[in-house]
């Protein structure tokens, strides 16, 4: 009996020991400044500044000189450090269709710059909310929201949809960003959709100058608990830099996942508009709408 136990243990050990640490020689890493900012006309300009590191080191903070903002190449503001790499403008709210340039100086790495502008806001309306819009492959119900917007003709436009769910379990407000997916061809046409994402991003390639109705799905488990809640739908008009950055960021994260079941994807390099550095400095404007969920009366 014990003998059988040992044999069984040995077999189980063999079948489960599939991951191991490996050592590899890494080249010297050339550190560069990193700028992160997605700015909109709703708030004061805020930037996070850090530095790149060799993969085995996680200390990203960077000592910098003041971070300068230029408006049409004219210095317009100097951001103030608020700690942990954040730099915030005291009073400058970015304007739409205005070209901003950010300059970050570092004694070690020199100057890094990035420029972008905020596109015009794109209005939209929610035309339908379905509490039970379908069932996924694991038998879970999902919900759906349908929106409509008019795509202006002419220049290339880019959009992003994100949804925040507000609920009040136990008398305390709670906010959750929802993970979205859509079978709409305008979204799928972008060639990144295979999973669910924290936002949906797409261009007007197929709908330039047209009115478009778009449905997207998400999981919404709270309604089964009969808790009243709200959805905040953010419909963003984003710059080209924002679009390329987010699109590659989604694939970048997806292909970082090491999953035997899903296999491996080709690594995707991040998009950056920072000269002499990494990161993103990109603008967006957004329209919002709210869907209030009535108390569910089902099971």
């Amino acid at each position: 009996m014990m003998k059988s136990f040992y044999y069984l243990s040995f077999i189980l050990f063999l079948l489960t020991s599939c991951t191991k640490e490996v050592v590899i020689d890494l080249p010297d890493h050339e550190e560069k400044p990193v700028i992160n900012s997605l700015f909109s006309p709703d708030t004061l300009l805020c930037v996070h500044v850090s530095r790149s590191r060799v993969i085995t080191d996680t200390f990203f903070l960077l000592q910098t000189a003041p971070v300068v903002v230029l408006k049409y190449a004219e210095k317009t503001d100097t951001l103030q450090s608020t700690g942990n790499g954040y730099y915030v403008s005291r009073n400058h709210v970015p304007q739409v269709q205005t070209m901003y340039t950010l300059e970050v100086f570092s004694m070690e790495h020199g100057k890094a710059t990035a420029s972008d502008k905020i596109p015009e806001e794109a209005p939209f309306e929610v035309i339908n909310y379905m509490q039970e819009a379908g069932i996924d492959v694991e038998g879970c119900n999902f919900s759906s929201i349908t929106i409509r917007f008019n795509e202006p003709p002419g220049e290339k436009n880019y959009y992003e949809i994100k949804v925040v769910h507000e609920s009040n379990p136990g008398g305390k407000l709670r906010y959750d960003k929802l993970w979205l997916w859509s079978n709409d061809v305008v979204v799928r046409n972008e060639g990144y959709v295979n999973e669910i994402y924290s936002s949906l991003i797409f261009s007007d390639e197929l709908i330039n100058g047209k009115s478009h109705t778009l449905a997207f799905n998400f999981y919404h488990f709270v309604y089964k608990k009969k808790i009243a809640s709200r959805f905040f739908i953010h419909f963003r008009s984003v710059s080209e830099n924002y679009f390329f950055y987010k699109k590659k960021l989604m694939l970048h994260f997806e292909n970082q996942i090491s999953d035997i079941g899903y296999g491996t994807g080709n690594p995707v390099n991040l998009y950056s508009n920072v000269e002499n550095g990494y990161g993103i400095f990109a603008g967006y404007s957004e329209d919002r709408d709210t869907v209030t969920v009535n108390e569910w009366t089902g099971e």
Binding site: C18, K20, E21, V22, I24, L26, H29, V34, N36, L38, S40, D42, L44, C46, R53, V54, I55, T56, T82, N128, M130, E132, A133, G134, I135, V137, G139, T146, K162, Y175, K177, N183, V185, N189, G191, Y192, V193, N194, E195, S198, L206, T213, F232, H234, K248, L249, L251, F253, E254, N255, S258, D259, I260, G263, G265, N266, P267, L270, Y278, G279
Partner: protein, 785 residues
Amino acid sequence: MDRRIIFSVVFCLMLGKVAAQVTISGYVSDSATGERLQGVTVIDMNTRSGTISNAFGFFSLVTKPAANIIVRFSYVGYKTIKLTLPARDTMLNIALLPGVNLEEVQVSAEKPVEDRTEISTITIPVKEIKRLPALGGEPDIMKALQLLPGVQSGNEGSSGLYVRGGSPDQNLILLDDVPLYYINHLGGFVSTFNPDAISKVTLTKGGFPARYGSRLSSVLDIRMKDGNIKELHGAGTFGMIASKLALEGPIKKDTASYLISYRRFLYDIFTRPITKIVFEGASMGYHFYDMNAKFNYKLNENNRLFLSFYNGDDRAIVKINHKDTNQRAKVAIRWGNLLGALRWNHLFNPSLFSNTTFTYTRYRYQTAEYYKQTGTESEYTFTSSIYDATAKTDFEYYPARFLTIRFGGGATLHNFIPTSTTLKQDYTGAIPVDSSFNDDKNRAFEHNFYLENEINLNSRFRANIGARYSAYYVDDKWFHGIEPRLVVNYKFARNYSLKAAYSKMQQYVHLLTSSGAGMPADYWVPATAVLPPEKSVQYAFGLAHTSRNGMFEITIEPFHKTMSNLIAFEEGIAYLGGSGNWQYKVDGDGKGKSYGIEFFLQKKLGKSTGWIGYTLAKTTRQFDNQNDGKTYPYKYDRRHDISIVFKQKLKENIDFSATWVYGTGNAMTLATGHHLVIDDNSSSHYLPKTDFELYEGHIYSEENSYRMRAYHRLDLGFNFYKEKKWGERVWNISIYNLYNRQNPYLYYWHTKVTYKNGVRTEGTPKLYQQSLFPIIPSVSYSFKF
């Protein structure tokens, strides 16, 4: 003037040779099954001139007249026979008796390698494949081919074929002369070929004869069994991966026969009812199947018809039926092939044989989602497909003993639908959505003509000289190509020959493989004006030798191949998910280069048989818009690749086999640096905008500039045979990865986080290797009657 004189002299000399000759022709078949035998050596013992029977068992031996012509028919595994024939044209039907030298390994054709014109060509009989160790107890043709030099397997367990640095779409895979577009099941762990329905497999890696075209890197010619024309027989297997059954027999004895086989992955038969109980009305299942059928009908001595059919699919289905909530849903993903072929063999005269073929082949990948509830109905489908209809005819003409001429032509109508998406939504109170987006259905027309001359000038010099002309019409644009082909074999000493080959190839279809981490998907797309046909030029050389006792055979083959117009998704695109101009989401200027040397040593006779294959090679790719335009190693570039195959007959009723493989680790792109990246300003619009969502983004090395650890593995297999009253049964026991080598499948960085007394401590990122298959024993039971 001089040229005319020389031509006249040569013509007269040839005419003189042609005038004094007799033709011995006919068919060779297995006496027990009536199955026509390909590759039987037919030799005139007086002149030592010879020929080999073709894919339909036909031979035509043109020789000198003599008082008695002695002709020998030999084929490994069959009793050799000699016939004495009169000095006149003779038509024969030869039936060879099986059962001799069964323990001999049969990795090559029967003629000594140095006497065969071809280069870089290997034939493996299916019964040899069945003797090899098998993952999950399922013998696999593609995995057996991966043991040959110059052929890589790709990822662990995969049935992919990467031949001399080419990608899987560059293999022309012919099942009874019909191209198959997709050859994998179960994510690549099993190929679509059911060995019970297959008679012979021939792989050509270089020195392509002119009759083959449309792909750059290899030709895999797979022939289905014709079906036993004498009596009813059957075979079946219960395995851990799939079970199968094949039946064959005469419809009319010695005139018409059939073969039907079916193989299926069975686990869903159990998972569906179980999941229905566990998930309250939701049934889930995955399965694959292959169905082969073939009918052959001998109209008379000069005419024969063959009808072949194959259908194979992978299907993953989830069905939900909640009666209490009135909800119904179905999600189905399926992908696979359908093909059919009608072939007509016609013998015009003892020197002219023809085969006319009409084929249809289809590959499609489809995702479908359906949901219905009171007041709600939605449907989504995504399809990517390719349909081909082909008509072609091939002739073999034997005008003289030193010359065989093959010529023919064909035309193919391609129908491509790279992507097609349909979305319908009908919700109460909302505007219904009914939208369909399709890539334009690309119709393309391809036709070709070829001429091939197999010349045996004397016992030392042989050559196959030919050319292929192909033309392709798409988007109101013609593409033309002339593809010269040359193979030369010079036997410079007894049992030694030197070979050289040149092949230019052109390919009119591209394969885009999803580069994301999700569900793998393949999109077959046409060459277009934006993405022109892929091209390659390959040079191959060879030294071939057979030991005097015929025990050992060795080939050493250097090769050099360049490829152009290769395609890949542009960076940032992982799928063809919708519609519109897919061509503009693809980089189509890729270049590839592969060169190396292959060693292949076989032990062909005796109780212990097998081979050693070694490849030293380098393969690169270059795209203008990828890796900053720099050349980089191909993902499956392997500097060293070794395969050792050993087979031993332990007893009359027990076979043993072992395979050991070693390969340089796959090339990979590794993150060497990292930095913080912003995903959004905050998790909610109400939070202060200074609360960014920051994550770690990777900075990658140059593409494929790192190597995984080396891959090696030992597999063992035993076959236990027992005669029964009703036939024979075989127990197969296989052990995959005997010494449990943890071969790398993927590498990833991971930071361990620990909590102590409520304090979170993050370690430093470390590199981990994930392995796939540990030691896996398996067993299968087969029978035949």
